[in-house]
Structure formats: structure tokens, C-alpha cells
């Protein structure tokens, strides 16, 4: 226990000392010039920034994640045996994801692996769909809408998000159910005789997920396109470019950081979404996050849940980094 305490307080302290040493080195080497951090911000605000950012980074982001990673490498034990002789680091939880229970006859744990790749694949598809929906709207808002129209559009975009996520998911469910308005309209107009099973076909899941993170796509896109000089669009048009050429070679290259930022956000959030898959997923669909949830609360196997969550997190990060690399973007650029 003593070792843990030293770790919790020692590590932040070590980080602070390292940064002070680094700052002092930069100053001596002439990399950093001008007034120092505390001179610029004053002592009170400077201290607040250091403490608040340090607390946020360490206790809210780093420590919980480290605890999860640590847990994912431990066996499932009753509380009395934690820290005891059986509490050894093991890859059992990761092995379970790939090969299933030791008593299973299957060669691979297909159920979970399939759910994992379905989640990644569907998240990619939803991200692309989201981009296709948001780009024209963001372009209109950023380049051609009047100030009054822009305000109305922003309000219309934001207002629906006052309704909470679960309620929105259930609303989709009601709308798309076999007795729902959409099926009633389809049958009333004679287009179909039988109600269409939208939820079984996962239409509800994809619609709900696309809708859930629309704003995360539209605002980065809007910001990026808004900073494009309108004269550039006009110059391209004046030089004879058709509209698609202007979008492909003037607007999109300019908006690349915003596109990357929006797509990253939507992809990460979709892959990690819980409410929409739980409420809207069809009977045959197994999204990966509900499985993680089940590890924790149905199987009461927290170490395995942690391992599953960690697998998802690392896969998503690796995937995003590979895509960014493919589009020659650095992480710094998407925050512009």
C-alpha cells in the first residue's frame, strides 16, 4: 500500500520537477525567451493553471486509464485475495478475447471477434455517412448563408441535442418499430403490405448512431471551411473551374484538418457508443461496447472488461493514426 501511495504522489511530483528542469534548460539554451510563465500570468493564475491542468491530466485522464490497464492484466479474484499470492500479471483476459473460454470447443472466439470488427467497420461507414451529410451543410453555413440564416441553422442543429441520448434512441425505436409512423405511412400508401423490420435490419442503429454525433462532425467542418477565403472559391470559378472541381481541389484540401478532426471524433465516439447500440441494435447485432458492458456488469469480470475496453481503445487509436498518416496529417494539425 505504501508503494501505491508513493506512486500516486511521487509521479505527479516527478513530472512537475521534470517540466521545471526542462523549462530551465530551454531558457539557458535560448530556445525560450521573453517573460516567464508566472511573470506573464501572475502567481495566482499561474499556480491555478499548473494545479488545475496537472490535476486534470493526472487524476482524471492518466490515473484511471493506468488503473484500467493494470487491472486488465490481472486475474479475476475475490476481493479477499487481491494483492495476495494469486494476484499475478497474466494475459488471460486478452487470450479470452481471441480464443474464448478454456472449455470452449471453438478454435477462435468468433462471437467477440466478429462483434469487434463489425463495430470498427460500421463505425467507419457511419463516419463516412456523417461526413457526406455534414459537408454540404457546413459549406453552406460557412460560405453562402446570411448571418440570419446561419443563426437559425445553428439553433436548429443544437436544439435537438437538449434531448438526452437515451430518449433520442428510444424515439428512433418508436419511429421505426413495426407499428411506428414510418411503417404506418409505408403501408398506408400501399408501398408495402407487411411492416418493414427496420430495427432487425439495423437501420435504426445506423440512423441513431449517425445522428448522435452529427454535431461533432459539423462544427470542425464549419470551422475549417469558414476560414477559407471566399475569393479563392471565386478565383477558381473565374478561372473556369466547375463546382465539383472547386470542392475537390480548393475547399477539401483547405478543410483537410477539419475533416480529419471531425472524422476522428465521430469515429471514436461511434465505436465507443453504448446507448444507441443497446437500445437500437437488432436482435442479431452484437456491437462491441455492450459486450464490454456485459463483462463488467453481467459477468462481474472487471479485469476482462478492462482488457476488452483497452483493446477497443488501442485499436481505434492505431486506426486513426494510420489514417492520419495516409492523409499526411499530423496530430497537431487537426487541432487548428
Amino acid at each position: 500500500m505504501n508503494g501505491n501511495l508513493a506512486f500516486v504522489f511521487g509521479l505527479p511530483l516527478a513530472v512537475v520537477v521534470f517540466f521545471f528542469a526542462f523549462a530551465a534548460y530551454e531558457r539557458r539554451a535560448g530556445v525560450a525567451t521573453g517573460p516567464g510563465f508566472f511573470q506573464r500570468n501572475g502567481l495566482a493564475i499561474g499556480l491555478y493553471l499548473v494545479v488545475a491542468v496537472g490535476f486534470w491530466a493526472f487524476f482524471i485522464i492518466l490515473l484511471p486509464q493506468l488503473a484500467m490497464v493494470d487491472m486488465s492484466f490481472r486475474p479475476k479474484l475475490p476481493p479477499s485475495q487481491m494483492g495476495g499470492p494469486k494476484d499475478l500479471y497474466t494475459l488471460e483476459n486478452y487470450r479470452y478475447f481471441l480464443f474464448g473460454s478454456t472449455t470452449s470447443t471453438e478454435e477462435w472466439n468468433w462471437l467477440h471477434i466478429k462483434a469487434f470488427f463489425l463495430t470498427i467497420g460500421a463505425s467507419i461507414a457511419i463516419t463516412l455517412l456523417n461526413f457526406a451529410i455534414c459537408y454540404p451543410l457546413a459549406f453552406h453555413m460557412a460560405q453562402s448563408a446570411t448571418a440570419a440564416r446561419l443563426r437559425v441553422l445553428l439553433l436548429l442543429l443544437i436544439l435537438p441535442y437538449w434531448v438526452n441520448e437515451i430518449l433520442r434512441a428510444f424515439a428512433f425505436r418508436v419511429l421505426l418499430s413495426s407499428g411506428g409512423i414510418i411503417n404506418q405511412m409505408l403501408m398506408g400508401s400501399g408501398l408495402t403490405a407487411e411492416p418493414v423490420d427496420f430495427l432487425g435490419a439495423d437501420v435504426g442503429l445506423y440512423a441513431g448512431l449517425s445522428y448522435a454525433y452529427l454535431l461533432m462532425m459539423i462544427f470542425p467542418l464549419y470551422n475549417a471551411i469558414e476560414s477559407l477565403d471566399k475569393n479563392q472559391v471565386e478565383a477558381a470559378r473565374d478561372l473556369g473551374a466547375p463546382w465539383w472541381h472547386i470542392h475537390a481541389f480548393i475547399v477539401l484540401p483547405h478543410a483537410k484538418p477539419g475533416i480529419a478532426s471531425g472524422c476522428t471524433l465521430v469515429f471514436m465516439l461511434t465505436a465507443g457508443a453504448l446507448a444507441a447500440p443497446l437500445v437500437l441494435g437488432g436482435p442479431r447485432t452484437l456491437w462491441f461496447t455492450p459486450i464490454v458492458y456485459d463483462r463488467f456488469y453481467q459477468a462481474f469480470n472487471w479485469p476482462q472488461g478492462a482488457a476488452y475496453a483497452f483493446i477497443l481503445l488501442v485499436s481505434c487509436i492505431v486506426f486513426v493514426l494510420v489514417v492520419l498518416k495516409a492523409f499526411r496529417l499530423s496530430l497537431g494539425e487537426i487541432t487548428r
Binding site: N231, D238, L239, G240
Partner: protein, 359 residues
């Protein structure tokens, strides 16, 4: 040969605001034509109407004899150089210049050849691979010109492209623009609020005010023979004295002013009794010997020595300020501030124009 650009009764309104009112104009092929006016006078609107970004509310724009109604900017034989140049920052200099050719589907080797020639023409052959941000202001200017020339427009439209440059570069670019225009031989339509630019570069100038083209003529005509009080006061410095016409003698007329009777040329044939304005340039002012009846008296407020000329500001008895620019060659010692002077001008150097209602 059809006119390069023809405006026929062009009106542009935005809601209640009339940006351009009844513009009628013919611009000849190969001409360097300028629109000169203060900001907000409608000159940029008119340029955008010619390039196709704005459709005239009424009237017709014809380019090379063809009516341009309904033809978008991407299908007009014009190329526009924007005030901020609007170069594409994510493309290299060569890609910028080749952009118009690329959208026209010109094959790659042909395009490269043409871009290379244009780079030589604007003296940037070493810079083709660079990003636009790496260039200086004057180099960017030349890239913008080359990019516009690449599509071989019959009319090149320039929207105050020199306004962002410093004075020295601006003066250099004036002569360079003029030289390029002579070389390529196409029509240039140039927008500016800077009379120096308009006078030095243009074959003809249209002076605009509040959406109306007030006068069209060559530099000498708009400077020496203004036809409206706005042109007289906007192009060059001018002293302005109000009065009522009392007599006409041939080409001259006499005005009864608070400073006494003053005579000037009467080119617009004002009638006796009409309210008029007398315009006289500072350089037309001459010192008069004290005690003579000619001219009028004023108190010296300020003397600004500028080498070849000395600008003297006088306050006359109405409280109005009058400027006289006295040449060094006249050999008269400039007055000291506070000194009372008598100045006058020869009637041939003064101009009478009708006083607008609003004045």
C-alpha cells in the same frame, strides 16, 4: 471589330441600395481602361458585373459583341485579379498558374510548357516549385497576373491589386503592369481609388461617384477638363469657390463671389444668373503685388516647402482655405505664416461648373 466590353444601361441594385446606376460604356480591344472613384462608389460592383459574379438588375453586358446574360464567371472570356490576389496556398507557384489550364483539361505536357513560358514572362522561372507563402509581395502579384493570363482571357479585370504593396513597389508595378498590357495586347480593366495609378497607366478613365459614371476620358481630359464638380475635386487638388454667374464673354464668364468678381472658362455654357462653382488648381495660383485690385487677399496659415514647389495655405475672408502651389522657378520668396498676401489666377486656368442641388 466588336468592342471588348460594352455596358448598355447597366443598373445593379441590392434591395433598396442602388450600387450602379445607368452605366453606358464602350471599352475598345487592347485598351487600358480604369474605373476611378472613392470606396463605395460602385466600381467593384461594376467589375464583378463584368466578370459575371453579379447579374445586372437591368441592362446588358456584352463582351466581344456577345451578350453575357446568364453566362457564369467560369464561362466568360474574362479573368479577374483579386484585391488580395486569392492565390491558392496549398498549391505551388506553377500549379497556381496552371490551374485554369488544368480545369480546361489541357494535357499535362502542353500545360507544363505554357506555365514555363508564363513563368519566364513574369520573371519567376526559378520559383515555379515554391509555395506561394514563400514569395514576396511583388512576386505574388506577378503569379496572380500569370495565373490570369494563362487562360488567355480577352479581358483582364484588376481589382485594386496594388493596394497592399508599399509605395516603392507600387510605383514599380505600375510600369510593369503597363508593360505587360502592351506586350500581351489584351484589354485591361483596372479598378482603383488612387488617381496617380489611374492617370499614369490608363488610356482612358471613367470617374465614378455614388454608382454613377460621371465622366469618361483620357487622363488629361479628366484632370484638365472635368465636366462635373465631383470630377474636378476628386481628380487632383482643386480650390473651389461658390458664386452666381453675372456675365458671359465668349468662352469666359464672370462669377460674383464673396471674394469679389472672379472670371473663368465656361465650358458647360452656364447661363447668367445660375449658381456655379469656380475651380482653380493650386498650381494655377499666382502671387499678386499688394495694393492691386486683381485677385483676392488671404492670411498665410501654413507654408510647406517641397523642393520644386512650395504649398501655401491661405485663409480668405470667408474663412475658407485656399491653397496655392508656387513654383520655385518664379523666383518669388515664399511668404511667412501670418503674412497677408494677394493671390489671383488667369481666367483661362479657372473652370466654371454648375453647382449641384445638394451642395
Amino acid at each position: 471589330m466588336a468592342a471588348a466590353v460594352e455596358l448598355e444601361g447597366v443598373n445593379v441594385t441590392f434591395g433598396d441600395f442602388v450600387a450602379v446606376k445607368e452605366a453606358n460604356l464602350t471599352i475598345e480591344p487592347g485598351e487600358f481602361f480604369s474605373f476611378l472613384g472613392p470606396s463605395g462608389c460602385g466600381k467593384t460592383t461594376l467589375l464583378r458585373t463584368i466578370s459575371g459574379f453579379i447579374e445586372p438588375t437591368r441592362g446588358a453586358v456584352r463582351i466581344g459583341g456577345a451578350d453575357m446574360r446568364g453566362i457564369g464567371p467560369n464561362r466568360r472570356p474574362t479573368a479577374l485579379i483579386f484585391q488580395n490576389l486569392a492565390l491558392f496556398p496549398m498549391m505551388s507557384v506553377a500549379e497556381n498558374i496552371g490551374y485554369g489550364l488544368r480545369v480546361r483539361g489541357v494535357p499535362r505536357h502542353e500545360r507544363d510548357e505554357k506555365v514555363k513560358n508564363l513563368l519566364i514572362q513574369v520573371a519567376l522561372s526559378e520559383h515555379g516549385h515554391k509555395k506561394v507563402a514563400e514569395l514576396s509581395g511583388g512576386q505574388k502579384q506577378r503569379v496572380a497576373i500569370a495565373r490570369a493570363l494563362a487562360v488567355e482571357p480577352s479581358v483582364l479585370l484588376l481589382d485594386e491589386p496594388l493596394s497592399a504593396l508599399d509605395l516603392k513597389l507600387r510605383q514599380h508595378m505600375r510600369s510593369e503592369l503597363r508593360a505587360i498590357q502592351k506586350r500581351v495586347g489584351i484589354t485591361f480593366i483596372y479598378i482603383t481609388h488612387d488617381q496617380g495609378e489611374a492617370l499614369t497607366m490608363s488610356d482612358r478613365i471613367a470617374v465614378m461617384n455614388a454608382g454613377v459614371i460621371e465622366q469618361v476620358g483620357d487622363g488629361r481630359a479628366v484632370y484638365a477638363e472635368p465636366r462635373t464638380p465631383f470630377v474636378a475635386s476628386f481628380v487632383g487638388e482643386n480650390n473651389q469657390i461658390r458664386g452666381r454667374l453675372t456675365a458671359r464673354e465668349g468662352a469666359l464668364a464672370t462669377l460674383d463671389t464673396p471674394l469679389g468678381p472672379l472670371a473663368g472658362r465656361n465650358p458647360v455654357a452656364l447661363e447668367v444668373g445660375q449658381e456655379a462653382l469656380l475651380f482653380v488648381r493650386p498650381e494655377a495660383m499666382r502671387l499678386r503685388a499688394n495694393g492691386t485690385a486683381a485677385g483676392f487677399e488671404g492670411e498665410t496659415l501654413d507654408v510647406a516647402y517641397e523642393g520644386s514647389v512650395t504649398h501655401v495655405t491661405l485663409r480668405v475672408k470667408t474663412g475658407q482655405k485656399v491653397t496655392a502651389s508656387l513654383g520655385a522657378s518664379t523666383g518669388i520668396a515664399p511668404p511667412a505664416p501670418g503674412e497677408h498676401l494677394r493671390i489671383g489666377f488667369s481666367p483661362e486656368d479657372a473652370l466654371l461648373l454648375a453647382r449641384p442641388e445638394r451642395h
